[in-house]
Amino acid sequence: MATESDGEEDTAGKLTGSQHLEVDDDLREMAKKAAWSVSSCKPGNGVLALRDDNLDTYWQSDGAQPHLVNIQFQKKVKLQLLVLYVDFKLDESYTPSKISIRAGDGFHNLKEIKTVEFKKPVGWVHIPLSGTDPRETFIHTFMLQLAVLSNHLNGRDTHVRQIKIYGPRPNPVPHQPFHFISKEFITYSTLK
């Protein structure tokens, strides 16, 4: 599980982002199975820019704060890590500074699970979704909402260049209580 790397935090515990996207091998991207929406956007800088794997395109909001990115799944999924790409050098006052992450079954019962603060972040910001409790490595939810509460330099609108969301890989062998890790087991566990 990806933890906040040293390069990502400054002394006050605010995230500063890292150059590289570092994700554990046992995680996989969940975003394809979700429906993405945003609270507002400028024409030409819509929600697609968040998912296009292109760091030059960005989503720009166009309304009142908080700006929201909603990620809705068809069934309850386990989510472990959220990664954002933001760039203070390019976006300055559009760069988010405080983000709240909420989860729930739908718009009616979202509950905040985490708040993070950024300080002039440049690059990928990894946000693990677990609480301090190791049992809760994942959150099990239908929907995730990212709320940009404030921007650097008190900007009104925000730019986010990319968002990725990760969860654990399913067990390749169905209906097993545990994963297999040893070579002897894995060799015999599936046919191809």
Binding site: T137, H179, S189
Partner: protein
């Protein structure tokens, strides 16, 4: 003038100058329109990979040979219905199928690909009955699961039939020396007597090699060439899938074959006999090619590969004639090598065969029946058969079967012929039995059969690949790796079986080897499904399932009749949890080959995930029915039964799985799982204790033990085992589950979902 033109066309074809041949042939047809000339033109088109042209010019022709060529063109253009009507006209239900065995074989293929299995089986059987040396028909029967034992098909009765055919062919032949012969390398160097066994051997070896060497069914030389020199060689040229099969060739082929075997002058010549014999080997090659090739490029590639492979084989051959082989292998088809033949044993024959094929392979891949056509022209033009046969004889070094020896030679020939045929059939029998057993997934027996082969036959690409595949089916990936590696060394350009090899490397998690294999295969032939399957497996190993899907789609694109590509694609979709597409892929695989148990297995897994347990059980059972020796399948069947709450049966199957393969730990683990769900904790723990010994670093074993002890309220042990499980660093999901279980250890376990 007509003769002259025909002759030029044939020699152009023989020398692979297709543009020349086409041009001249078109002039010929304009000048002397006749159906035979039309057939020649069609042959030129087919050789030049223009099946559509051949299709148009032959549409509506009635002569058997024309119908046959037309059917070939239709088959290559994937117009199966028309091909079928050509071979079996609807309004003439009793018409004889053109070209005997080859025609039946083609019909069999058509029926197979249009889903009419019983008819297909029927025709393949007929093909084999007419020509017992038609390996490809037997191979198809094995794939369809309907082959009888090889000893039935390649037995003495078959030998007798072959002998009869050869005799009648030879008796219809003329031994006069034709002018053409001179050009042929004369090294028949075989005494008349020698010819037959060697010939048949070569025939056989050739045939076998043919089957092996064709990833794309490119044509391979049919062998016999060494004996007869060019004309003979041409006989066995199975043109690469698209082009070949000039219907014209058979007669000459036959004759050539006869020469070798009998050297008896002849009179009448029965076309059907000739056709049967000749067509059979040729057909085999052609069909393979048809089945698998995508474009002419393939042929050239396979041609080259073949030659390399052959040289590889030559290298690998520990035969004493290896040196000779080496000489032969230098793509030099010289009288010398042939001369070497006379004194050599059958091994040399194979060697020479190989060298010949080598040479062939190295030339342009579109080998064809040039020689045959030449002879055919002779046949056509000279009613008195002054043709090639004589050339063959001439080749035979003078001491040929010729006129001189005719009288006394005959009985000697007969016996030699008979023994030659027997040996040939013996070899086919072993290989056939091995192949049949491996198609029935009785891999252990198949391995034993293959071990009965002689050293030099065993060390060929095809056999080594089959042995590798047998080990793969036995889930013995190390041995499989070893044999496939050997196969690649013996014939580095063989593609057949390399898709299985890539799966073996996937299971062994050998990333480096796998990516190397994939790169090599792509560089050898970008248009082969095996290369893309290997690439896909590479990405799959790195868990990049989307790219893997793309690669497998490409493999499917390149050859939609390659079942394994569909199955592998399905596996990737399932890994991406796209079950709908996964199911579609598996179903396509099953359409191509109903006995592809991997696809049944894949469907079972999908339904297991979707919790449609009855479907899952049904599909696993089907897979198990096809491959009853796989302990992994038994394990999955047991898992499906357990999900259906049919635990007694589940436990039974697990026991079977455990005894089927001692090295497979999964059934024991599943058994423990089932027992613990049945609350038979002590038995479960016993199993797990055993497993602990076998796989001491498997965290799931300890986790399950901890879970059981938790249920038994033996808290210290539970904690102990959970601790070990955590130490072994399972993935995060398991860490969460285990830690959660540890927390709740001292609480009553009422409402726990997982533990």
């Amino acid at each position: 003038m007509e003769t002259l033109m025909v002759d030029r066309v044939q020699s152009s074809l023989r020398l692979f100058m297709y543009r020349n041949a086409l041009f001249l042939c078109e002039r010929l047809c304009a000048e002397f329109p006749s159906e035979l000339n039309l057939q020649l033109l069609a042959t030129c088109y087919l050789r030049n990979n223009q099946a559509y042209c051949a299709y148009h010019i032959l549409k509506g022709s009635k002569m058997p040979q024309s119908r046959y060529l037309f059917a070939i063109s239709c088959f290559q253009m994937n117009l199966l219905r028309e091909a079928e009507t050509a071979l079996c006209p609807a309004n003439e239900p009793n018409a004889e199928v053109p070209n005997g065995a080859a025609g039946h074989y083609l019909l069999g293929l058509i029926y197979r690909y249009t889903g009419r299995r019983t008819c297909a089986v029927d025709h393949f059987m007929q093909a084999l009955a007419i020509d017992p040396l038609l390996w490809a028909a037997y191979e198809e029967l094995c794939i369809l699961g309907a082959a009888e034992e090889a000893s039935e098909c390649f037995n003495d009765a078959a030998a007798f039939r072959v002998q009869q055919q050869q005799l009648s062919e030879s008796s219809s032949q003329n031994l006069t020396i034709g002018t053409e012969c001179q050009s042929l390398p004369s090294s028949m160097a075989l005494g008349s007597g020698d010819t037959s066994p060697r010939h048949s051997k070569q025939l056989h070896a050739n045939n076998t090699r043919e089957t092996l060497s064709h990833p794309h069914g490119t044509v391979m030389v049919a062998g016999h060439p060494p004996i007869g020199g060019p004309s003979n060689i041409s006989q066995y040229y199975t043109p690469p899938a698209v082009t070949q099969l000039s219907g014209v060739a058979p007669p000459p082929l036959c004759r050539n074959a006869q020469l070798y075997l009998n050297a008896i002058g002849g009179d009448g010549y029965t076309k059907s006999n000739v056709n049967a014999v000749i067509q059979a080997p040729r057909r085999k090659f052609v069909d393979e090619g048809k089945l698998r090739k995508v474009s002419g490029r393939l042929f050239s590639d396979s041609g080259t590969r073949r030659s390399t492979r052959l040289s590889g084989e030559a290298a690998a051959n520990t035969n004493s004639n290896a040196s000779q082989l080496g000489g032969n292998g230098a793509n030099h088809f010289s009288a010398k090598s042939l001369g070497g033949l006379s004194s050599s044993s059958s091994k040399t024959n194979s060697a020479v065969l190989r060298s010949v094929t080598l040479r062939r392979g190295q030339s342009w891949a579109n080998e064809n029946f040039d020689e045959g056509r030449r002879s055919q022209i002779f046949y056509d033009s000279c009613a008195d058969n002054t043709v090639t046969t004589s050339s063959m004889s001439a080749l035979a070094d003078g001491k040929c079967l010729e006129q001189d020896k005719m009288g006394c030679g005959i009985s000697a020939h007969d016996s030699r012929l008979a023994s030659g045929i027997r040996e040939f059939l013996g070899l086919l029998r072993t290989l056939g039995e091995g192949y049949r057993l491996s198609c029935l997934y009785r891999s252990q027996e198949a391995l034993e059969v293959y071990l009965r082969l002689s050293q030099h036959q065993f060390n060929t690409g095809w056999v080594l690949s089959q042995v590798g595949k047998a080990h793969f089916e036995l889930v013995d990936y190390f041995e499989a790796d070893r044999f496939f590696d050997l196969a690649r060394r013996v014939s580095p350009y063989t593609l057949e079986g390399m898709d299985i090899y890539s799966t073996v490397l996937y299971h062994l998690e050998e990333e480096m080897k796998l990516s190397y294999l994939a790169q090599e295969l792509i560089s050898v032939d970008r248009l082969s499904p095996q290369a893309w399957c290997a690439m896909g497996n590479c990405y799959s190993l790195q868990k990049d399932h989307e790219t893997a899907v793309k690669n497998f789609q490409r493999a499917v694109h390149v050859d939609s009749r390659f079942a394994y590509a569909h199955t592998l694609c399905g596996h990737e979709y399932v890994a991406l949890e796209d079950f709908e597409n996964g199911i579609k892929c598996y179903q396509s695989a099953l359409q191509v080959d109903e006995r592809h148990y991997n696809a049944w297995y894949g469907l079972g897994v999908v339904y297991l995930r979707q919790e449609k347990f009855e479907f899952a059980e049904h599909h696993f059972r089907k897979a198990f029915h096809i491959n009853p020796c796989s302990s992994v399948l038994m394990c999955y069947l047991g898992m499906a039964l357990h999900s259906l709450k049919r635990d007694e049966e589940a436990l039974e199957i697990m026991e079977k799985a455990i005894s089927a393969d001692k090295k497979n730990p999964l059934p024991m683990y599943q058994k423990a799982n089932i027992l613990s769900s049945l609350e038979r904790f002590d038995e479960a723990l016993k199993e797990l204790e055993q497993l602990k010994e076998y796989a001491p670093r498997e965290s799931s074993v300890y986790a399950l033990m901890g879970k059981i002890y938790k249920r038994l309220n033996v808290h210290e042990k539970a904690m102990f085992y959970f601790g070990i499980a955590l130490d072994l660093k399972p993935p995060a999901a398991d860490v969460a589950t285990i830690k959660s279980a540890m927390e709740k250890l001292y609480l009553p376990d009422e409402l726990e979902d997982t533990l």
